[in-house]
């Protein structure tokens, strides 16, 4: 299967390991992610002003790029891009008058006609590839590995955009099971990581991340998986500050779900120390899940 792929800015820069592992893992499942030839920033963080049409230009322009390429579907790995693009796609379909205004503004582009479906990789795995097929592709079952799925906000909210039950999601748990590992449930798995406050209020975010990580660890998690470069930054890189605030805090590796897939598929080269603050490799080597 070939599918149009929107990587987003983060996956081209600080989260290149997310992009690499996503392409490798999906490739192993026979899904080729075909990057759009031209694309721009998804638009990120939805604006809190009521008059925010200007903010929809970026996502709609990307939908036009997909339409231009003759694609009806656009898949993303980043939860933030997924949320922004899907929200815009649904919004302009529900509000033709807004779309008309946007199209009139984007007068150098062909009109966006609607109809491009925005998908997250996890949906593609669940609904089309199927977790059974994922399980079949596993060459190194992650037996006994206790992994805490972390959803954050962007995969789950708002209703209509979220890809699973916002109160009790299970899609990441199913994936973890398919890879042979053991999911560790936590009541904080759908709580916000602190998002952009990480720029201006590092400590607030560090304290939040501390709670989320400690809760997972106290339930036996040895690693945590995420689908968002910003969540990962807050949960992983902020561990430096967490250690300063709490000397007894034990580091917890944070991986992208695609890295966990790559690991179980035997695609070790897709798992690099770059992009991680807590290098997950020593721990995986110790558990004999990664060759030394």
């Amino acid at each position: 299967m070939r599918i149009a792929y929107y990587p987003g800015c983060s996956l081209k820069a600080l989260a290149a390991n997310f992009d690499r592992s996503a392409r490798a893992a999906m490739g192993a499942l026979g899904v080729e992610l075909v990057e759009l030839e031209r694309w721009n920033c998804c638009g990120t963080v939805s604006s809190l002003t009521t008059d925010d049409l200007m903010r929809q230009l970026a996502p709609v322009r990307n939908l036009i790029r997909a339409q231009e390429a003759g694609e009806r579907r656009l898949v993303t790995a980043c939860a933030m891009c997924y949320n922004t693009l899907k929200r815009a796609a649904l919004r302009v379909e529900a509000h033709p008058e807004e779309l008309a205004k946007i199209n009139a503004f984007l007068d150098e582009e062909p009109d966006y006609r609607g109809g491009v479906r925005v998908l997250h990789l996890l949906e593609l795995l669940r609904d089309e590839v199927g977790f059974e097929a994922v399980a079949k592709r596993v060459v190194r079952p992650l037996e006994g590995l206790r992994v805490a799925p972390y959803y954050g906000c962007l995969l789950l909210r708002p209703r209509g955009v979220g890809l699973d039950d916002p109160e009790n999601p299970s899609i990441l748990e199913e994936l973890v099971r398919a890879l042979g590992a053991e999911p560790v449930d936590s009541p904080l798995k759908g709580q916000c990581c602190g998002s952009y406050h990480t720029v201006a209020h590092k400590e607030v975010v560090a304290r939040r991340a501390h709670k989320i990580l400690s809760e997972a660890a106290s339930r036996g998690a040895e690693a945590l998986i995420s689908s968002c470069p910003l969540c990962s930054f807050n949960l992983d890189n902020r561990q430096r500050l967490i250690r300063e605030l709490d000397g007894s805090f034990a580091p917890l590796p944070v991986l992208y779900f695609t890295e966990l897939m790559a690991l179980a598929f035997g695609l070790e080269e897709a798992l690099s120390p770059e992009g991680h603050y807590v290098d997950p490799r020593p721990f995986l080597e110790e558990r004999q899940l990664l060759r030394r």
Partner: protein, 244 residues
Amino acid sequence: MADREAVEQEERTSLAEELGVRIYIMGKEYRVPAGLTIMKAMEYAGYKFIRGAGCRAGFCGACGTVYRKEGEYKLRFAVACQKLVEDGMFLVQLPFAPAPRVSYDLEKLRPTENVLLKLYPELARCVACNTCTKACPQEIPVMDYIQAALRGDIKRVAELSFDCIQCGLCSMRCPADIKHYHVAQLARRLYGRYLAPKAEHLAQRVAEIEAGRFDEELDRLTRMGKEELSKLYEARQIEEGVGV
């Protein structure tokens, strides 16, 4: 049909030559001969350029012009030394763009993913409206290079912005107050300093020069008188085997 169109076109041209074209400079109407560039037309009308003109050849970017044509809703952009006047142009010069350049020491920077964003954080405010691209007289995909800058792709910024003449028109139109051409210049500097493949033949030639390979020749030339020099110049070889 085509003939008639050609005839009409010719009639229009000769009429314009006779009467001149109507242009409006800062709101005041002038009639100027057709076929002049905006810059020459303004000089014809009596304006004198003591700023806002440089190369007069479309390279220096000093002569940014904003205009609107009668009956059109869109602003248009050009460099005054290149664009010919058209009937019904409302013109204004934009000789300088107040878009400050951040100061940096190239030797202390590294071509990392976030270096552009760090020095020009307003990059993150881009809403992908593409207004910058529409303003560029060089037809550069300005938004695309800003987007590449946002994702830290220095090489792509350098490539896409290569023809930028730093007129600043993009930066005067951007709702996000981005300083496009300074970002692009920084990217090209980083690219040249750290990323572009090194020219080996250049290093070789520099080494040859330093080793004194051309010293004797140079000494000979410096000792020559004017007459001898111009003789030598005239007899120079322009193409292989062809003298002047």
